[in-house]
């Protein structure tokens, strides 16, 4: 089985950012994204997941290195100061590289 290299970018952040992030990642060149509901805790205290502004989301984007970089720097610059937010990248293999 031959896999093609892509970047997987994961952003964990406050749920209030969902709509904006979804728009941003598409505008910056990603062809899709996946969102799951999450809770957790970090430097900005706990998010229990029980009500709207006490909830995190976990956004995943599979894309080229360049798009990942563009999204990462946009997010860092635009949201990381004001919002509880964690971002990380990893390497993944995909089968249909043309669709990402």
């Amino acid at each position: 089985m031959e896999y093609h290299h892509k970047k997987l970018l994961t952003i964990v952040c406050e749920a209030v950012l969902e709509e904006r992030l979804s728009r941003d990642v598409r505008r910056l060149g990603a062809h899709g994204h996946t969102v799951t509901d999450a809770r957790g805790g970090g430097l900005h205290g706990s998010k229990h997941g029980t009500w709207s502004f006490d909830r995190n989301i976990r956004v995943e984007v599979i894309c080229d290195d360049a798009v990942a970089d563009a999204i990462a720097s946009h997010v860092a610059e635009r949201y990381a100061r004001d919002y509880g937010l964690v971002l990380y990248v990893s390497d993944v293999g995909v089968m249909r590289p043309e669709r990402f």
């Binding site: 209030v16 205290g45 029980t50 909830r55 100061r81």
Partner: protein, 311 residues
Amino acid sequence: MPLDPVVLFFLLGLGAGLARADLKLPAALYESLSVYLLLAIGLKGGVALAKFASPALALEVGAVVLLGAALTVAAFALLRLKLARADAAAVAAHYGSVSVVTFAVAVSFLARQGVSWEPKLTLFLAVMEMPALIVGVLLARCGGQRRVEWGRLAHEVLLGKSMVLLAGGLLIGWAIGEAGMQKLSPLYIDLFKPLLSLFLLEMGLLTAARLGELRHTGAFIAVVALAVPPAFALAGLGTAALLGLSAGGALLLAVLAASASYIAAPAAMRIAVPEANPALSLAASLGLTFPFNLIVGIPLYWSFTRTFWGL
């Protein structure tokens, strides 16, 4: 007079939360109940408004909007003594806005006393949500280098969940009148108080979680959260006197003034003033002001009202 039964449910939730009991109500239940309460309040108000609308209403609405704006500025001035601009503005917006559930408990309180009130208070509830949010953002931004994203703010304020449901309910209630409401009343009237009791159980759990955070937010905010409500209640009573409200209506306006938002304001501030620390506002409005108003405030403001209205 003993506590209202619905307040006991709040205390049960609060106690369970503080004791770290293994009790977690599903988020979907909380959200469904809040949708229900907003709609039901709007509907009831709309039905009543259809009967009692008067030309002077527009003026009275204007007065109430001014009240909300003035309270926000007052709270801001107080909070600036210790807090950064953005934080002071965000917290002030919570206190200038209103708590729908506190209003509902006050309505239940009046019902137990057999005291009636003007239906337009529901309209006041709806219009008092907004001005504080706009004033709060202005206060946060004036003099600062960040610009206001007016589009997003207007969207958030006018099309936020509580505004849409309250205003939508008012419109529908107004359109269908008492006759149309009859078939809907098993849910929106008969079940109002018991569903409020369930909601307050969950609010107790949420409050317990917020109370814990007061340790980190400091004493100043705690003092504000307990001192502002009675002061604002008096401002509400003054406005009520100006508007010639009955004692029941006056209590409700006092409660609107004294209560702090924890649905509309947090959402709007998180979007329009993101650099403010949301834990501050919630610890104050939900952790202290909300239970204070429920348990101490409403009876206290009622005793004020009875004194001033000569009952």
